[in-house]
């Protein structure tokens, strides 16, 4: 039944009256990495009252004439098994890392490498935000690149961007990368 259904889906997709291009972006990372803060920052919302996400948040942001549907899914250990339910038809994976949480670099690296192997994310571009650069103890983006062996990722485009979701520093640079590498290609 799978094939017929997929066919029907593509039909339904075309039913949409809008001509606007859409991108599906999934925002993942360990708990307390700053995913929801980043999401709210992207949507220009207040980032002060953010609590740990138990489910998921969605925001649609228009960016360079494209509609970005960003899905932020809770990162707590007990929720992580649900991540793979949200990966279908993803155009971009944004992975957020708490750069100051050195103790969990290994854990976050492991989660990332498992994600990369997911069938649904095959070849999907990856943007890593090395978040919390506003903290003095934060590792730099290049340190994280080393630690996570990002250089071994050769099956897709990837980028690591240092940022502070709270102050917004670096976020725009990451978005520009998205614009240059994904939005333009999609068009």
């Amino acid at each position: 039944m799978g094939e017929i259904q997929k066919g029907l889906f593509s039909v339904i997709e075309k039913l949409k009256g809008t001509t606007e291009q859409e991108l599906r972006i999934v925002l993942l990372g360990l708990d307390n990495a700053g995913k929801t803060t980043l999401l709210k920052k992207l949507a220009s919302e207040d980032v002060n009252m953010i609590t740990p996400t138990q489910g998921f948040n969605i925001k649609s942001v228009t960016f360079h004439g494209m509609k970005l549907n960003v899905w932020d899914i809770g990162g707590q250990r007990k929720i992580r098994p649900f991540w793979k339910k949200y990966l279908e038809n993803t155009d971009l994976l944004i992975y957020v890392i708490d750069s100051a949480d050195k103790k969990r670099f290994e854990e976050t690296g492991l989660e990332l490498s498992e994600l990369i192997d997911e069938e649904n994310l095959k070849g999907v571009p990856l943007l890593i935000f090395a978040n919390k650069q506003d903290l003095t103890t934060a590792s730099t983006a290049s340190e994280i690149t080393e630690g996570l062996n990002l250089h071994t990722y050769r099956d897709r485009e990837w980028q690591i961007q240092a940022c502070s979701a709270i102050s917004g520093e670096g976020v725009q640079d990451g978005m520009n990368w998205i614009s240059n590498n994904i939005v333009k290609k999609k068009k």
């Binding site: 017929i4 029907l8 339904i12 009256g17 949200y86």
Partner: protein
Amino acid sequence: MAEDSEWVVESIAGYLGSPEWLIPLTDFIENKCSVFDDEEENKLSYTEIHQQYKQLVEKLLENYMQEVGISEQQFLDACSSPFAKSKTLQALFQPVLATNDFQLFRSLMVQKNVELQLQALRVIKERNGALPECLTDGTDVMSELEQQEMQILQEVLKRSKEEYEEEIARREHVAPKVGSTSASLGEEPVRNGTGPQAAAHTPAQPINSLGKKEDKVISERSSDSASPKASDNCSTETRTLPAVRVPVKGPAPPPMSREKTANQAAESWLEEARKEAGISKPFRELTVAQQEELQQRAEYLRQQRDKLQALKKEQKGKSVAVEETPSPTPTPAPATQEISVEEKKKLQKRKHLAEKLKEEVIKK
């Protein structure tokens, strides 16, 4: 080819307005919508329900397309034809689009949930004459409710006072000699007099501390309304009160218990009033006990809603049964209506159906 896609669109649009489509879909939405609230964050369970919804819509559409003999390509052509982009058709297609658009799906579910809750409230209202205050929300209603509450409160206080005075009068008859027991009881009337007032305050205070303006009104009102009465009590009771205190000290407990029941009644009413007032506060501002109450009420509401659903289901079942008897083949029915409008389409559709039938007959 354009004509071809036109009848496909019409046929599908007809199906999307038919009970074959609407009943299972509405059933699904009504059964599953209760977990959908309008919190910003989505629950993981929404995704599961969305998946089930997709499957249902696909199954229904596919069955129909197979039945009528519309191929996917035809469907695709039809959907991209300008004819399909009209507003009325777009509205019909909403539930289909929701399979691919989580946000749209979510808004459908949230909307249905709110609708059902409102319906449940209406049913409760019809059944009980008035809506229990605990189930209303919003400030405009609240002020009315507050007034009602205060009336009830005053009534209760009045009655408990009457009972109390009656009791005193009776006591006085029975034991008049103790009336002069002592001067030390001089304070007592005051304390007794403030009794009801204190009772009125206790529930009002916590509400007040929750920091909403209306609540201040409540507490003010309650003290306003209670205190004149309390002072009434004082004046009328100065004579009688010494007699009252006697049984407390004395060996006869019945008046005491009588007094107690009256007080208890008042307290339970007050408790009730407090609960009802409590519902209008933002959830996190409530105490644990109040949250529990709120949850209980939510549960009650849910139950009412479930009943409503069951009722609806029954009705639906009936209406289907009724419909089925006069027209054993409901699908062509709406089609026939459209046909009378345009001859061409009618012919095409008939031809198509005939072919389909022939095919089936021959196959069998």
